[in-house]
Amino acid sequence: MDLAEKLFLILSGLPATLSISILSFLLGFAIGLPLALIRTYSSRPLQAVVDGYEKVLRSVPEIVTMLFLYFGVGGIPALRQPFKNSFFAATFALGLRSGANQSQVFRGAIRGVGEAQMTAARSLGLSRLRAIVHVMIPQAFIVATPGLGSEYALLVKDSSYAFILGVIEMMRRADTVRKTTLDTVFPYLAAALLYILITFPLATYLDMWGSRKKRQLGL
């Protein structure tokens, strides 16, 4: 097997790596933004529930969540269907954890936008919900962009844990190449480089875009 062949084999894991990263990011977004709004605007008991969720998912290693979902939840006959699928369990576990992270990112961003913007919107007669939708969230997005970039990069890296569950992603492919060719250096170097290539440019771009936009708008 020459280097090009090895590289292609590793690359064949890229779609799975990207799918896990992107889908878990989207799930994290769908969980994180509402949680941030609850943390900021709702009643104390609900805030405490969200706080608990964040603490648990941020302290438990993602590998534990993954194995728990796959073997634990997947072991329940009624829930076997989605959770015994390793791709699903891995993506879901990362999405839950990302929801906790993104909630914190958005909460910080909403706080950064500031209560004054809410007051100004309310003074025009906007309801709280409309003020959140039209004034707070659009600005919070801009403030949150750099943090969301980092979160994406984190998910790409953590998608490699799916390897443990047997998902055929990039890490798994690199490992297979190592096993079959006994080349212990190239596969991991190539994988490392590919991980850098799919995280660094996008995360850096989002960081720059967000920072520039913030400066331009005086946020």
Binding site: A116, Q117, T119, R122, S123, G125, R130, H134, G218
Partner: protein, 250 residues
């Protein structure tokens, strides 16, 4: 007799052990221009915010055209849409252009069509002489221009009254003039206003009544001429003397 637009009766606002407003009653009739002034911490801003129902008073009532806003079951969003408010710290929406700032309430509160809102917003921006700046973001404008957008934003809603909370005090001295000019235009058009301000020449020129507050209460209320020539309370007299001296030095 002209109708009463906004009124408060026996208004109290207490924060912890601090009494910010004590038993304030005030009535603003259509076309009135009331000017509120007094030392910092005297409760002026709290009064303005309670009148606009941006803060809930601890005790007492606020009425908008006879409707009690401090009771249960009132749609405060509807009421706030009818009371314009201009903030000391301006507080434009950073992510929207001047046009976007003025349009937001028209679109999302008054439910105007895009075209209708655009036309009305443009008219308001023209009234504060900023039609050429419609496409600019707040960060690209001077403080004085930003505050004029703030005025246009309130004005566009065609409120029954506009409350202005120290509209010039966050601005550099050389930028207050353009904002005062915009306010003078509003006054000339017969806009009902409650202005918190220490701009004394402006007050003397446009106010129907000046209201001096100290320690959360109204100490004296009179025609501007009385305040400028012979205030009846000692506290007002001392405060006026300081203000007039400061104005002369400027």
């Amino acid at each position: 007799m002209t109708k009463t637009v906004l009124e408060c009766r026996n208004l109290w606002k207490v924060y912890g052990d601090v009494v910010a407003l004590r038993d304030v009653s005030l009535e603003i009739r259509e076309g009135d221009i009331k000017l509120v002034f007094g030392p910092s911490g005297s409760g002026k801003s709290t009064l303005a915010r309670c009148l606009a129902m941006l803060t809930t008073p601890t005790k007492g009532d606020v009425f908008l055209e006879g409707e009690r806003l401090t009771g249960p079951g009132v749609d405060l969003n509807k009421a706030r849409a009818r009371i314009g408010f201009v903030f000391q710290q301006i507080w434009l929406f950073h992510h929207l252009t001047a046009m976007g700032n003025v349009e937001l309430g028209l679109r999302r509160v008054l439910k105007m069509s895009k075209a209708e809102a655009r036309e009305r917003a443009m008219r308001s921006l023209r009234e504060v002489k900023l039609e050429d700046w419609a496409g600019h973001y707040p960060a690209q404008m001077s403080g004085g221009q930003q505050q004029r957008v703030g005025i246009a934003r309130a004005l566009a809603m065609e409120p029954e009254i506009i409350i202005l909370d120290e509209p010039t005090s966050a601005l550099d001295p050389e930028l207050t003039g353009e904002v005062i000019d915009a306010l003078r235009d509003l006054a000339d058009r017969g806009t009902t206003m409650l202005v918190i301000s220490h701009e004394m020449p402006f007050a003397r020129e446009v106010a129907d009544e000046m209201i001096f507050m100290d320690e959360g209460a109204i100490v004296e209320r009179d025609a501007p001429e009385v305040f400028f020539t012979n205030p009846s309370s000692d506290r007002a007299r001392r405060f006026m003397a300081r203000l007039i001296r400061r104005t002369r030095e400027d």
